[in-house]
């Protein structure tokens, strides 16, 4: 495990690394500090090990080159190898002399109209995602999708996409996807399930005891279908739960939109808006941020105050590492310094460096009133978002760089954390007759404190619609293979609200079903397809613009429906007043959990492209670890890769520690979402090394304890 990074050390960055980048061995902290004092200007390094020049690192570098390959140095091995392989080597050339086998040609019986074999076709669609759909243009060869890219004509992302979106292609072709409708492990027909569900729901009369647990609904059509279900069965309950946003300021959808094109000064309050699609509006924000930096005359200035090292922090001109619990207090202090009235900032002993940045930041913000933007984290205390809104309001950024909308990309906003807790309560109370889980894996991903897994068994019947027989699929009575978003008709809204129709690139490979088809079963036209349902949703809007069929084709071709972007609200909403929490005591060690930058909440843990992709800053791949600062490492007498037991409120998890440059002292971050035990790749890793972080995270761990 290595903790690699590339420090484009500007003045401030070098200073920060001086404090926090300490290698475990063999140089002492003092030696490294001495050495770095002499360093002037830029110095590039890939990892803390390289910076410290450890012998282990030198050895690792040596091994990269072939002269050090062991087998060829050992005479016995080489001789034996040549002896054994000599004949094969000599005859290897003869392999080229063989005849090619006859190759069959399978022409079409009726050729499709628009296909020129050997030439790709391109189709517009969208990747529905919890932080907003990503409009796509999919390259397709003989009607098989082969490459995903952003829709270049879409105003939101203008051709850009992201790692998560691109990798959904490999997810489509995952041979581990579930392929059959099963009931208690035995293959059944889809019709058997529909019969069972319809009979039971009808028997409940008003939907009592019928529960739906869904990933956040992003499709307006699905929302419409749910509303119809609710009208027919008023007591049926829908719980939406996405572990990455439940309980955060994003769970009810994001109502704030940023426009960085006019922002000279950007402040990120623990908001990692440059890393990936996990941050709402990432594609647009990244484009606008980067566009300003092409020309020195228009360059913007980014301040990042963050609790764990991120891409945003590394790009920032001024980065301040704080413990996550100090960020609300810091935000309050900043709001006060800028001049927001009625801020109750908790008393805090800021260091001179922090005080200095606070003063500079406040001055810079005031100097750029109306041309600055303060972006709060999704994962921080609600007070951070409220204070950021207040600062933006005071500076007159609203209407220039910050906008508010009345709608969100979530057509049915809900309080996910609260609803989930209520669901667990109902499960424990034995109120749940049928629990239908739509595209979610709560056994794995529900935070441990919900005790969801223990309550799960109390449901009389559980049906799981999912792409894999995952943790939930294995325990559910019914499992229905889910169609991939590249296989199904649906719809979704991008960050700016523009509606895209999700159109299938290929027939479902394994006969997967969509949530649309499942909810439709309970309505008056149970066999209506997802295609018809989506058309029905947009018919009124498209008819208003002229001929429906023509506009429908236009929307499919272009990749969006005209005139569906959110209307920007004239005034900012009333700021939610919330108390600013006191930071944790200095001696307390705090832990922060973030969605994995590559596999997000674990849904893509079977996608090799994403597992293989090194995570920003740490360069970790296929793994998870607790990131701590070198100071904490030294204080606790640890070395890198040591396994530590972390415990929070009586829940424990074992994890290897690695030093992350820029991790603030007395703070540790972990990523959710690794250590899935139903996942083939993970099992392989566990055999190799016991040091694997084999629990998704503390938050989720206890839920799985008794199932391992």
């Amino acid at each position: 495990m290595s903790s690699d990074m590339h420090n484009n050390a500007n003045h401030h960055g070098a200073k920060a690394s001086l404090e926090t980048s300490i290698a475990a061995a063999p140089k002492t902290l003092a030696m490294l500090r001495e050495e770095l004092k002499a360093v002037k200007g830029k110095r590039y390094w890939r990892s803390v090990d390289e910076l410290a020049g450890t012998p282990e690192f030198q050895a690792a570098v040596e091994r990269e080159f072939p002269h050090a390959v062991q087998e060829w140095v050992d005479p016995v091995t080489r001789r034996g190898f040549i002896k054994l392989m000599g004949a094969s080597l000599a005859l290897a050339g003869l392999a080229g002399c063989t005849k090619q086998p006859d190759e069959p040609i399978y022409p079409y019986v009726k050729a499709p109209e628009d296909l020129i074999l050997g030439r790709p076709n391109y189709f517009a669609t969208a990747h529905p995602f919890v932080t907003g759909a990503v409009p796509l243009l999919v390259k397709s060869d003989q009607f098989r999708p082969i490459k995903i890219d952003g829709n270049p004509e879409h105003s939101y992302n203008q051709g850009s996409s992201d790692a998560l979106t691109q990798a959904t292609l490999l997810d489509l072709y995952d041979p581990d996807r579930s392929q059959h409708v099963t009931c208690r492990g035995e293959n059944r027909e889809w019709a058997a399930f529909t019969e069972e569900l319809r009979t039971n729901v009808a028997a409940s009369k008003d939907g009592t005891g019928i529960y739906f647990l869904s990933a956040t609904i992003t499709s307006p059509t699905l929302a419409r279908q749910w509303k119809a279900v609710q009208a027919a069965y008023p007591k049926a309950t829908l719980v939406q739960y996405d572990p990455a946003i439940a309980g955060t300021t994003a769970e009810q959808g994001i109502t704030v939109q940023y426009d960085l094109a006019k922002a000279d000064v950007l402040v990120s309050l623990d908001a990692d808006f440059l890393s990936g699609a996990a941050f709402p509006g990432f594609h647009k924000l990244l484009r606008q941020y980067a566009a300003r930096r092409k020309d020195p005359a228009t360059i913007n200035r980014l301040y990042a105050i963050e609790s764990t090292p991120t891409t945003t922090g590394m790009k920032a001109e001024h980065r301040l590492g704080l413990r996550a619990s100090e960020i609300p207090a810091f935000t309050a202090a900043l709001a006060k310094a800028v001049g927001v009235a009625g801020v109750d900032a908790p008393a805090c002993n800021w260091t001179p460096e922090q005080k200095n940045l606070l003063a500079v930041l406040a001055r810079d913000l005031k100097a750029h009133a109306g041309k600055s933007v303060v972006i709060p984290s999704l994962y921080q205390d609600p007070s951070v978002a409220a204070l950021a809104q207040a600062i933006n309001h005071l500076l007159g950024n609203e209407g220039a760089t910050v906008f508010y909308v009345n709608e969100t990309v979530h057509p049915i906003p809900s309080q996910q954390a609260k609803d989930m807790r209520a669901l667990v309560g109902d499960l424990n109370a034995g109120k749940v007759g049928w629990l239908v889980i739509l595209n979610a894996n709560p056994i794995y991903s529900a935070a441990a404190d919900y005790e969801f897994a223990a309550a799960f068994d109390k449901a009389k019947t559980v049906a799981h619609l999912g792409s894999h027989v995952d943790e939930t699929g294995q325990l559910a009575h019914w499992h229905i293979p889910a169609a991939h978003s590249l296989e199904s008709w649906s719809d979704a809204r991008a960050y700016d609200g523009t509606v895209s129709i999700v159109q299938p690139m290929i027939d479902p490979l394994y006969g997967g079903k969509t949530a649309h088809e499942l909810l439709q079963l309970l309505l008056s036209e149970p066999s209506q397809s997802a295609y018809e349902a989506v058309r029905e949703t947009w018919k009124p809007i498209l008819e208003k613009q002229g001929d429906f069929e023509q506009n429908w084709r236009k929307a499919l071709h272009a990749g969006w429906i005209e005139g569906t972007a959110f209307k920007l609200a004239p005034a900012s909403p009333q700021p939610r007043q919330s108390r600013v929490p006191q930071p944790l005591p200095k001696e307390a060690l705090e832990i922060v959990f973030r969605p994995d930058p590559n596999i997000y909440d674990g849904r893509w843990s079977n996608v090799g492209w994403l597992q293989e992709l090194p995570k920003p800053i740490t360069n970790l791949s296929w793994d998870n670890a607790a990131l701590i600062s070198a100071a904490t490492l030294t204080r606790h007498g640890l070395a890198e890769d040591d396994i530590v037991e972390l415990s929070v409120n009586g829940r424990k998890v074992n994890a290897p520690v690695i030093v992350a440059p820029g991790q603030f002292r007395d703070s540790s971050s972990g990523l959710w979402a690794l250590g899935r035990w139903s996942c083939r790749h993970e099992c392989r890793i566990q055999r190799i090394s016991d040091s694997h972080f084999n629990r998704p995270a503390l938050r989720c761990w206890c839920a799985q304890k008794d199932r391992r």
């Binding site: 069959p104 022409p107 019986v109």
Partner: protein, 277 residues
Amino acid sequence: MAQIFGPSSNALARTILALVGVAAIGLAATLNELQRSPWVTRQGQRPDQPVPFSHKHHVQGLGLQCQYCHTSVEKSSYAGIPPTRTCMNCHAQLWTNADLLEPVRESWARGQSLVWIKVHDLPDYVYFNHEIHVNKGIGCASCHGRVDQMPLMYAQNSLQMEWCLDCHRDPAKNLRPTSEVYNMAWEAPSLDKPVWCAAGDARTGTPTAQSVSCVTKDPKADAGLAESELTDVAFMDAPSSQHLHKFTSQDELGQFLIHSYRIRTPRELSSCEVCHR
């Protein structure tokens, strides 16, 4: 102790050495020939096809154009094998009871492909693109031979690398006007059968093949002009900037077309990554 090897051993040793040398050379020569033999290359072989389709009958006899079936030859790397529907366009009404066509009717009825055996089969590590060849003046017959005279399809050429390179190193010898690409009976220009070509302005954005027009009939004779006025006379119905050139040898025509069609140099054309990508 008697010597193990007597004086005659020397001769024996030399003979054996010589024989080993001869055998090695012989083996190499045999393998070399074997590698180029039709047994390996399938050159000239007619595999069993589901229907004994005759290109001769359809092309020469009925006058079907190549692209009636091979629709994507100008647009894609792949020339295209016709769908069963193309067969049924005619055979739904013609020879509807012929036994030979039973597989076609069955394919149509069942919706299952006719399974042909590939006659021109390049190894998978070779990238070949029909589109560029056809649009730059390589005729079908240059590679596939006189398909219009083949009752059963076979490969006229070996399709081996040396055969590809033979042309890539000197494309001039096979180039013809794009208007003649589908002409199976095209003959290289000679004194008896000259070709007249005119190159249009090198306008930017104009597809190169379309800025060259060629005729095989004497345009002056058509226009009623005297033989002496032949050179550099404007086309009667073409812009005045177009000047007719008379070509009486393949090499002259080839060089002219290389220039007009902007064909890359032999050095570029025979670079590895052109075919092995």
